[in-house]
Symmetry: D2
Subunit: 343 residues, 4 copies
């Protein structure tokens, strides 16, 4: 029996409360020992319920000898600084995606991870979706050379209602909420980064590196859509759609066509805790696996704990996180220039 990894949660906002805390409570191999949040009220409320220490500055976390590793769930613009401090303080890090706000920041973290030898895992938890992993194995083993693909990530305007049904009550301070809303004021940039981090990580996981992309964007008030034409290093051609606030239900997925097979992956809104639905075709039949282990956040933190204890490369690792940031920036550049861009 391995000792559980003693975790602190840095940042107790919405994603922390609805995703990471329930996952950590259920996960094997981890034990929550502290939380921190700039809002004392939030930190104390969250901590009291779990019987752990509450801090209002991350320095106290680094100073807490009990803490072996941290989950960084603070807003995107703090990922780089908090991950840097945690590594510098000798802690393993599971940092929410995107890894950083710029390629330069992400590269900086690659260097730091290499120097410290610590585990840094990026919170692109869809890699741990049982269905996405099934598709990954199917592509590697049965689909043959990949020729083409189409990926889509659409945030429908019914999502808030779904969140209201799925989310536990969230403790928040109105002031903090307002400040965060302001920080997301460059909504176009925010949406591309937050959604692109997922879709690009999934594309890379299933199809390998992206060689180049062409991108078009349209903005309409608060709504934004990006359409991309993508060529992979292995020679496949595909499309990627990122749309925020289309009417209706959210939808996320990818279809991949190879020489001997094809696979379609429909990812579910993660808080349904359902593994992606996979339709894998080869040899005259579609196979639809019935995958029941659907909590990707729990699977993610359990994978993190195993890597901390056993060593090896975390999934996704700091270089995967860097690659996603490169693709986010490449998309923005491709939109601005109209040209084909290599990330």
């Amino acid at each position: 029996m391995v000792d559980p990894v003693r975790l602190a949660l840095v940042g107790c906002g919405r994603i922390a409360q609805v995703a990471h805390l329930p996952a950590v409570e259920k996960a094997e191999g981890v034990e929550l020992v502290a939380v921190s949040d700039p809002s004392g009220a939030v930190a104390r409320s969250v901590a009291r319920r779990r019987g752990v220490a509450a801090y209002t500055d991350q320095g106290s976390v680094w100073a807490d000898a009990l803490v072996e590793a941290v989950i960084v769930a603070a807003p995107d613009r703090f990922h780089h600084r908090l991950a840097t401090e945690a590594l510098a303080a000798g802690r393993h890090v599971l940092v929410e995606k995107p890894l950083a706000s710029t390629v330069a920041q992400a590269e900086d973290l690659v260097g730091l991870v290499d120097r410290t030898g610590l585990t840094l895992q990026v919170g692109a938890m869809k890699r741990h979706d049982q269905g996405v992993r099934y598709a990954g194995r199917f592509i590697a083993e049965r689909l043959g050379q990949v020729r083409s693909f189409n990926a889509w990530y659409r945030i429908g305007d019914l999502r808030p209602g779904i969140e209201a049904a799925l989310f536990p009550p969230v403790v928040a301070e109105p002031d903090v909420r307002r400040r965060e809303a302001a920080a997301k004021a460059d909504r176009r940039r925010y949406l591309l980064a937050t959604h692109g981090a997922h879709v690009f990580d999934t594309v890379r996981f299933l199809l390998g590196e992206v060689a180049s992309l062409v991108a078009r964007h349209r903005g309409h008030d608060r709504d934004h859509v990006w359409q991309l034409l993508v060529t992979t290093a292995a020679g496949a051609v595909g499309t990627v759609t990122i749309a925020a606030d289309v009417p209706g239900l959210p939808a996320e997925g990818i279809e991949v066509f190879g020489v001997t097979g094809a696979v379609r992956v429909d990812l579910h809104f993660p808080f349904y805790r359902r593994a992606a639905t996979v339709h894998a075709y080869t040899d005259g039949a579609v196979v639809v696996p019935t995958l029941t282990d659907g909590d990707a956040y729990q699977r993610q933190v359990e994978a993190f704990a195993r890597t901390v204890r056993a060593g090896g490369r975390p999934v996704p690792d700091v270089r995967d996180g860097l690659a996603a940031v490169r693709l986010i920036e490449a998309t923005a550049t491709a939109v601005d220039t109209g040209a084909e861009v290599a990330p």
Copy 2:
């Protein structure tokens, strides 16, 4: 602004922890003030987390003047006794289904509710599923006279894996677990009552009273299946399937065919917190509503609170609970005798 109904939870076992407590935490119009469980460890663990009083006998609940209403979530065989005590103590009751273990017990509760004038709502929460309600309105307004129907309730052997992904960690005492497993030793009777209570309530909600039924049963080790031929008071003929431990995913639903329309309702495992998927056909098109308010347990307790405050008939009420118990017994009798039975 109405004062929230001050609730106690009587029975803190699995269904209480995975369904009622999360619902109460989110619901509008209720406030949890106490919990009770025969296991002191369980009661204290649950209570500490919510900052409420912990009792180990229900008498203390009845004695707690703060408590206005209770949710009875103890094992089935205690429903009648605990509901009776709660009503006698002047408390409104939301009692898990089935209302009671026998028709006589259920009739007893009807009398008590009538005498006390208190609210007793039965925990057949599927009535509060947004999709089931949509179907109810569609049947009443668009489908025309009902001619035939087919209902099914199948517990697939993949359900434990799904529960493991969806459920929060459950606090339990091994001794209590063993005792409850023993109490469910008459598994055939237990399965018919626990699943039948749902399917019969849904059938009655959508189609009105059942006039008669014929039933066949097959048991195979731990697995059981019932097939029913049902005639409604309004003259429709239908079938009902209740199957426990068929291979694969769980499935629950009903198809109803009328003169001018037809509707199919696919209910989801409740802990996905998804409203039933409805396909409603009439006039040359199928309509599939996109219903986002999917937490039937939360909707149930909010409806209970509104009825406690505003009066009126709870849904489902004690007579609905009695009718479900009658249908459970009628099914058992029909299997034993081979004959057509009026409930």
Copy 3:
């Protein structure tokens, strides 16, 4: 290379023109040499187009030495007489379902087939649906002992529009059409026989003999519905729905649940020429075969030709046809008496 079986078509009405003639034109192993129909105009029109002989009485068919085998596609009430005459005249017979109008007639044909040693195949062509056959193999090899099932056969009121899109132009005499409509005046009996012949043959093919059934019927003007509770000789319990003129699209299918697997078969309206869609679950995955050979009428006549040439038992044979007629009669008796009936 085997000589094609020289076929005559006896009865050139609608089913002959839309199903059998296109099938015979495409099928391997058969050659149409003559057609007969009481309407000379219809017989000549059909024959001219195919360059074959046209007769107006079946006696001329029996007298035509070129004819080796016949397809009997006349109205149901003539099946017995025409099949009897054909066998007596030494011809192999593919007779449309139902085999005969009564059990006595069907038994009579069993005796005649046994005495003559000729091939008589019943036109329950769904046995030759690639999807139904896939399901048959899956049940035999993977599903384990069958425990329960649900079958349905619903003729939706949108079927005429679908037929108008799918059917080729049909040559008919108005007088004959009126006479046939009058012969179907006992619409309740007609519907049970014509649809029951399909569903009972499929149930027996997949699940073996039926031991007993209970049935309820409701009629509403021209519309009729039957609900059955069925026990198989092997001990499975199931339901069968036969509904004529429910609103919406037609639907036909069966779900079968066994110890180690489950299968759902959705049969398509045959003139789509699509094999049934099959979902076969076992061992953690649903398999959906992509079956492209979807013309059951063509497959049926090719199977008939192979049996005529190579010998062996046709599928379905005269005893299968008798069993279907027994189940049709048993259903009518069960409705009339309210009792459980063994076919």
Copy 4:
């Protein structure tokens, strides 16, 4: 009652036999009076069956005073010449898509149609698919401004098996088949033209003119895939996939996202004679119309006949045909240059 339009069929190859002849036989408002094909055997076989005149050169068609209009179903490379001759001879023309092999040829036909005032309709029959038309109305009336879309047209390697099941027997001369196969030897060009003609016509019908496109192509032996990034004149951004010989079943469709609604159209292989399946979302519900009139080829020729008799613009007309050819050429140019191209 309007006199039927007296039609000749010019070119009796596969598409003529499997699509146009069955459609003409059923369609209202047309009467087949002659056929022509370079192969006398094919022309006579087809003509004999329908009791019409058989010609082996199109000059005889132009000389036949009975002929009012022609369907040009010859190979693509003859479309321009035959349509030109037919118009010059004063005949209305329904010409298979693509209208012509080059933009110059197509422009030439635009001029000729304008000068003669005759009806020229292009055989992009998907415009007459009941589902595509439903989607067109939905987009115009309910979806709001179009923001983004994704279209796909994939020919799966299971298509030959499906064709074998759906197609009637085809009369052909081996020599002609070989010659045609050779003419399609530039398979890449052939595939883009034959499939692109459909998908571009559907895109324009639903979304209006295309302003520009970027395209990437990959070829693998006989297989080819094109991925396009498309901007419409109205400002929407979208993707178009054209893939030939991916594994599995064929798939064709388009999803369109607007301000107030979204629609998905799944077109079926046309020989199923099923209207496209449409999912139209707006105002909290998906509507799926049950469309039964599924023979697009029949609907196309009936529309042609109505236009010939009543005048007005045929759908699609010669300018639609020209636009599709422009888009096919623009795609080829975009692939060759890597640049964004305006058609």
